[in-house]
Amino acid sequence: MVEVKNLGYDSWQTVYFQRASVILTELVLVFALRYFVQTTPLAEQKLSHAAALSILLSPGLLIIDHIHFQYNGMMYGLLVLSLALARKQSTMLHGGLLFGTLLCFKHIYLYLAPAYFVFLLSGYCLSQKSIFRIRFINCLQLGAGLLAIFGIAFGPYIYLGQTQQLLSRLFPFSRGLCHAYWAPNVWALYSFIDRILITVAPRLGLQVKSEALQSVTRGLVGDTAFAVLPDITPRMTFVLTLLFQSLALVKLFLKPTWEVFIGAITLCGYASFLFGWHVHEKAILLVVIPFGLIVLKDRRYLGAFRPLAVAGHVSLFPLLFTEAEYPIKTTYTVFWLVLFLLAFDKLAPAASKARVFFLDRVSLLYIAISIPLILYCSLVHNLIFGARYEFLPLMFISTYSAAGVVGSWIGFLVVYFTS
């Protein structure tokens, strides 16, 4: 609460009001998490309580909402509530409708919509005994409800004939592949490899596109052109995202339980974050928060979660760049990681299947690397190079984080399909 601070651009009253509104709307998240804990079976309530606390205290929300300024607390509150509502057959309809409402608030959640669609189709609209028996009343309720919600939200715009303008604002494909800073996804690794290839290419006899080399702002401004590797089109990112989402959805369709549903939501978030077009690093919460709900299921989940927790939060650091904010973002993240990774370690029950010892060591090593990396990027780089090579720390952070996110994604894929 004390993070309310003067940004200097605007009058005190405005800053007070806006900051206070973030804190107040975050109460939605508090309520949602409370509901989530209460609807958990009694035996697991302690675990879900810890998971809920980790989400509420997430450094991601602190950095993005309370310092950078956004209303994610409320948005993720609605998402968590809708996920919790989907747990019981009796409230499933409300969960689906709430998600529809959430889409009207912020369309980034469209990335998660496939999992909702499949889950509601298989678990709500079709009979559990046979997928060929359709429950028409349920379909009607859901369809009518969603139509009404979208009608209220978009109706006025359509009526006024602003559909085209609305769509181009919501889906900015005209912007580049990578966002201002490189979100730690596959494309960050892709452009990192491209950069390395620039120096190696002459020796390998590869062709280097000269116009891409000349753009000084590479990696800093949206338009990313690759010098050696082939360019990426929006269509390719779209196909890749859908492909990896559908893998998870097949299992969900066949086995529409709540745990699988949350797993599928997480994987949808992963796929869209890793392969999406113009992904912002803030979107990592789309993975971290749903994953947080099931991380304490057993130790294998936790194993996949660890690198994600480190990478996801470290990748948010470049969002805040003033010296005064530096201690807050780093110490708070360290605090959260130490507290919750240790607590989860104590709480998570043993897995029924064996874990891979080697992977645990690799993930420990990965976490350990973060310490010198952060020190280099925030202190050492400035001391050595001053303002030159500004892209270097950003590239290191996003490549490092991308490796972590991809690693945890592969780990979670294994857990998801084998459990």
Partner: protein, 606 residues
Amino acid sequence: MSAHKPRKKPQKDDHDGNAASESVKTVVQVDATSQKPTFPLAAFYWPARSGVSQWTVIPLTLIVAGLLRWATSFWGYSGFDTPPMHGDFEAQRHWMEITTKLPVARWYFYNLDYWGLDYPPLTAYHSWLIGILGSFLNPKWFALDSSRGLESPDLKLFMRVTVIVSEYLIYIPSLVIFNRRLAKQSGLNTWQTSVALMAILLQPSTILIDHAHFQYNTVMLGFTLAAMANMLADRLLWSCVFFVAALGFKQMALYYAPVVFAYLLGVCLQPKINPTRLIAIAITTVASFAVVFAPLLVGASYNHYRDQNLAQQLPKPVLLDFVLEKLPVKIESGHFLYPVVLQLAQSIHRIFPLARGLFEDKVANVWCAIHTVYKLNRFSIAFLSRLSLLTTLVALSPSVFVLLLAPKKKLIPYAFASCAWSFFLCSFQVHEKSVLLPLLPMTSLLAGRHGLYPEVRAWIGWANVLGTWTMYPLLKRDELRVPYAVWTLLWMYLLALSPASDSTYSSRSGLSVFTKALHLCSYAIMVAWHIVEAFVSPPDGKPDLWVVINCVIGAAGFGICYLWCTWQLILHSDLLRRFGIPGSTELHRETYTFQSSRVELQKKTV
């Protein structure tokens, strides 16, 4: 005295053993099936009550404390944008400027009208060090004269960092060690020790003054805690060194001096007179003072040696002639000791400004309270200073006598608090920020025996809320209303001081009716005062009415705090029983895990 001795195993905590019978009093509440913590701060530490290493708990605690401090420091500081004099921030910055840019001999003489140096030498050295580091980063910050009133954001950031770094180097280690030692000797378990540590770290007044208003009080308080910790560990000579350091950093540490003296004298007289120890203590103290003043005096002598005319250029201190007359040897202006006497006279004159009035601003002590109904400026300054000296002596005599008669370790925090309260209430030239001094030892009682029980917790919590409340006019001037509200409410929430159903004041906690009525009424008065202050403008001709009311109520409350600390001191000293006065039957039944100093001293040889 300094020999290593193995740590004593603490006696088994009795909470687990007979928790059920004590259920209403303890930190945990016991129903038929389960236990639960009785106040939110304990609830936050609840998962760590078993099987979690101190290597995890203490760093996490310190990170949270540090984050909250840093977040507070984003707010404004005293004197921002108020030329020509600005405020404490500018004073501290100015000292960094003069100590780095001027020869040592001129430190206490330079431009006294504009924040002349008026703190003891350790503050000057501290400023010098920070000034050197800061000038390395940006020479403009501490350029002589041209940097006056500088208010750039990067300077603010640097200064804030120096406060938090000084605190984490001195205050925090001392507090962790002191807290651990006191808690161990009072029979608290590890979990309760952590809860007490966090509570003491979150004292709202200290954080608001140091990290928002801007001062370096925690350095002085840290040295004091180190002195107390060494007393608890029987390293008496080290406690002298640290206490002299506290005095050498900020003269306000004098609030504690009588009890330090009484304790150290007490352990030399009881159980049998120990002249060797007394001499050792005396020599250490004198030597420590010499070390504190040495750089100043040596440096100044060197300056005088290089520039023979320097003595003529400097204004003559008021005390100088008086001191020179009293000296057995005659020292003229050419004598090699002359600069030493000159510097000593000037620094002491600067550090103890007896020429100023009885109280400076509105402050919640006895004099300001009396002044509102009976104007004190009809008396001469000399009379008033004698009067205040006399009343202070009377007020501090209980703590001094108790420690002389029964120099027990468990009494140290009580005696420190009682003595500091008497200074705050009755002495000369008290500042509203001085309330930090009595509040620190009083708050440290949370780590004492039964410190987390509702009774003690309620009193300590109340005193801190009251202390912060009396600083509200000061904080309001610095535009610190939001952090004031956040910190006070956070403190009240964590210690469960609200009148809600499950709070410290609920019927389950077994507080006496008097305590309950007093605290709840005063909380109500404070809230009412805030409402009036915010929405009603004071009547014509009395623009300070609300501030004066705040001071009068505050003075009454602090008087009660003084009485509480003194009464607890007397109760726990066992003197009542020794003199055959009944009244503390409850205490008789308890077996103290505290071993009295007497028993320990008999085992030891100096």
